[in-house]
Symmetry: C2
DNA sequence: TGATATTTAATTTAACACAATTTAATTGTT
DNA sequence: AACAATTAAATTGTGTTAAATTAAATATCA
């Protein structure tokens, strides 16, 4: 029934449903994000840019919990698409300033539909969604 | 204070803390898993194998929510390490049977320490951990 | 002040994961 | 028996991430 290896079973892990949920939710976004020609990581980066308009890579990394190894190639792609610009700071050449373009801002209007569509897919009650949100933020605070 | 783009802000997304939590938790595992010379995905695969002892790739994929594109190279690495064997089924040559080896089983003893160590890192109350577990499983059921 | 070390910021590289496609084996239908 | 449809795994290409590297700025001290 129960042996000493029970604690190694997948059903007794908290990390596993967390890993699976995140992966599945990103997968659910895919068809919606394909319409904007964005990956999920590009999407959250654009969310940060829609809000902040200007940012350097370091700040963006702190907001998004991404490091520059992820952001550098990603930002180059967004620049290629014309959604942002990348320019070195005159004051400190180490800093790369990211600015949103007009085209980038325009994309927000198309993106507005997505959060509502996703809610419909995930199908959690308002209470569960709020509870999940709170616990995940606690977890993130704890591990920083 | 509030504008029509509020619904696109990161702080109003549920997906974002989910994405960050999963990533950060996997990152926390890294130092412990380095001692076993396993990646996180290899670790959950070994968990499935410690429990089931034998499995084909399809079954393993269903258990782990991974596809053959992820599993094929991963299983070859675990085979190289001597933790599993990969053999084609005699009954149906399309099926690749994965079996755990003695060396693979032995690794479970070292892995036994990890769940406890991770609990210490994540630092959620028993109530929060249980609640999180339940909601995540609901979410996974909903999106299947 | 000038030389050197340290810190900081971003890029590059290599490994891993995932989506989409391909190949191979089996089953079903006529 | 022949062909189509289905199933299982492998392969390929793209994106993400950790670790190492490069470049720039600042601090230390002779």
């Amino acid at each position: 029934m129960s042996d000493k290896y029970d604690i190694l079973k997948l059903k007794n892990q908290l990390c596993f449903p967390l890993y699976v949920s995140a992966k599945e939710v990103v997968r659910l976004y895919k068809p919606f994000l394909d319409e904007l020609d964005l990956t999920y990581t590009q999407y959250i980066t654009m969310m940060a840019m829609w809000e902040h308009k200007t940012c350097n890579v370091k700040e963006l990394g702190e907001i998004l919990f991404l490091d520059s190894g992820t952001l550098t190639p990603l930002l180059k792609k967004l620049e290629d698409k014309g959604l942002i610009t990348r320019t070195r700071s005159k004051e400190d050449e180490r800093n790369l300033i990211v600015n949103i373009t007009q085209k980038g801002m325009t994309l927000a209007d198309k993106a507005m539909e997505i959060p509502g569509k996703m809610e419909g897919c995930v199908k959690l009650s308002k209470e569960d969604a709020e509870c999940l949100y709170k616990i995940l933020h606690k977890l993130i605070d704890n591990v920083q």
